[in-house]
Symmetry: C2
Subunit: 380 residues, 2 copies
């Protein structure tokens, strides 16, 4: 197969090794690795680096192909590539698998040197702050003092926001897409149901499923099905599936009878085969805990007041998991803090998933904003 | 304890026995029972009967108390009683547990005379049409030729709609509250996740859990947690729980840490102890299948054209499970079919659950409408 001409092409993940990191909880994690990919070239001034932060089930493989036989490119290929919004002709793009992940970076499936066994449920709690700290260590390794932009959707947007707060000298633009400054009680509730599905699966074995040679497939499947429904809009599900009965008639009531069920089962089963349950628990907890205002008397304006970067905040009309109102809270706080912010509410039918999809106005907004960023770093 | 003066007081369930029923699927169910309660008195003309249809996890105990020690009255006590919207000084109110239920009517926990064992998963598929047919049999038993009104919220409202279509001569008013003419793909998806939680629980045992002496508590708990989140609005959860951490600090990430989680766990555990898993599967399937327009070329106007009753359609602003738009579809179809319809969209913060709660404007609308119904049957 010839790869598309606007693709970054074949890419190979790389691994960076670090001695240790002290986490927000106070725990210290010894030797660890981060797996990452890069697209494009770092300029002489080392000023054109863009960091991609992934969301709940994402990883480092954001663009391009690992082999010519891959059926699909990386998860954000719609945004990253030559001539695309995050233009690899202009930017040096860095995308990593976060600490605690299950796609190559050190996480619950990795071996704990202290015991010689997989960490499993003993892997320390990590937070969005921890991820950002680990990302600065990777930046050091790559010789990047400051990112031209840190970009993320959903949980990725939360990391971009934390960058602006924690490392104001090391980020010039924060692109916060389909995110929120903290989860609502409803968001937490959905996460908790997904977690309970995993925790109560008898094959979870208190998190020691790898050692036991089993996997909590049922729980992971339920978690993914639930996540998936909340990432789509009611309308987009209706357009995609309607109420079509698989067999065309009312059946016994016990099998799969609507198209939407069949689709969700498939999605859930694929996820259960590929994603680590302990990582899922860890990442949903990081989502729940994210609340940068908490350390500033619950005042988001104060939390953001030390930021020195400029901001782009994007939301989608039918996103009910992180609704446009949640983005407006961020915009309002940025304005009140006297920050430079551009915001766009994009009409899109696909709910929270819109941030991953080819929504023309969305891609135009990103392109336009990032063209300005490229000009600033001499890549115009 | 003295019972409240606006309560119907102490009530005792009664049981009606029937020889058989032929279901929509073609299956014939032999001898069966329906458990029901009545409140108020049937007038001489037998014209003041009101039927209450329950929703997913409801039952016959809609108002009053079974004993003086009961902590809570029936599930719709806010609406039913002397001087309340469904005024027992004026109406003879009938409330039953639907066929397939688990609160006394014949259902999966009942003994199948053919085998001497509980039906369990072999209990036949029942539909909203079947429930309505069974309700007419109960009406015959009680000497009620026509109901002054058939009233229901959510799945109960679907039954009231089916009454208007299937038995136009036997219903004078249909009160459709927080319902829809069919589920959306998103609704079906949520039901399917709840079903999968039950079906994949190892203690479900293919539905034969009673015989095995176990109960799929994990699956039922997850199903209820999920249902509960979708019945509430994001705002009402926010107001009720905010993001309060139980312990006040970030913990290990594996226990219950937010108030909303603790609440949902409790709700889920109570439900798992009291509700039958096979009944839950059966009732959610009845919800999924409900689509009266299906038999009329997917034309709801045609489906409703044979109705002879008048309609009240009520929706709630923050109900996202059965949004006001879904009620408007019903109203539009009724108007197009030339029917007499009154509709109200009630501002309420509590989501789908609003129909069970003391929302003053909602109760006023019901009272006003039903006062007219009472006058028609000489109970003004």
């Amino acid at each position: 197969m010839a790869l598309p001409s606007d693709s970054v092409g074949l890419v190979t993940p790389e691994t960076a090794r670090f001695d240790s990191i002290t986490l927000q909880s106070g725990a210290r994690l010894g030797e660890f690795e981060l797996v990452y990919e890069t697209y494009g070239a770092l300029n002489g001034a080392r000023s054109n680096a863009v960091l991609i932060c992934h969301a709940l089930s994402g990883n480092h493989h954001a663009a391009g192909y690992h082999t010519e036989r891959d059926k699909r490119p990386g998860w954000w290929d719609v945004c990253i590539g030559p001539g695309k919004p995050i233009d690899t002709n202009r930017f040096f793009v860095v995308s990593l698998n976060n600490l605690g992940g299950c796609d190559g970076s050190t996480g619950p499936r990795s071996t704990d040197a202290a015991t010689g066994e997989p960490y499993g449920p003993t892997f320390p709690t990590v937070t969005v702050k921890d991820w950002v700290l680990a990302q600065t260590m990777l930046a050091d390794e790559l010789g990047i003092n400051a990112f031209a932009a840190v970009v993320g959707g959903s949980l990725g947007g939360m990391q971009a926001m934390q960058w602006a707060i924690d490392f104001p000298e090391r980020i010039r633009h924060a692109l916060l897409i389909a995110c929120a400054s903290k989860l609502s009680a409803q968001n937490i509730a959905f996460n908790e149901i997904a977690r309970q599905a995993i925790l109560t699966d008898p094959d979870f074995r208190g998190g020691h499923y790898v050692k036991a040679g089993v996997n909590p497939n049922r729980g992971l499947m339920l978690a993914r099905m639930l996540g998936h429904v909340t990432y789509l809009s009611d309308d987009s599900m209706g357009n995609k599936f309607g109420r079509e009965l698989k067999s065309g008639d009312i059946g016994s009531g016990h099998g799969v009878e609507f198209q939407v069920e069949s689709y969700l089962h498939h999605q859930g089963q694929v996820f259960a085969r590929t994603f680590d349950a302990n990582t899922y628990l860890l990442m949903t907890r990081a989502l729940d805990y994210f609340d940068p205002a908490r350390d500033y008397g619950d005042d988001l304006v104060r939390a953001l007041s030390g930021a020195r970067c400029r901001f782009l905040v994007v939301s989608f009309s039918t996103d009910w998991r992180f609704a446009p109102e949640r983005s407006e809270e961020i915009v309002d706080a940025l304005v009140a803090a006297g920050k430079d912010v551009v915001s766009a509410r994009i009409e899109a039918t696909q709910g929270h998933d819109s941030f991953l999809l080819n929504v023309p106005r969305y891609l135009n907004v990103l392109s336009t904003y990032l063209r300005g960023v490229a000009e600033e770093c001499g890549q115009g």
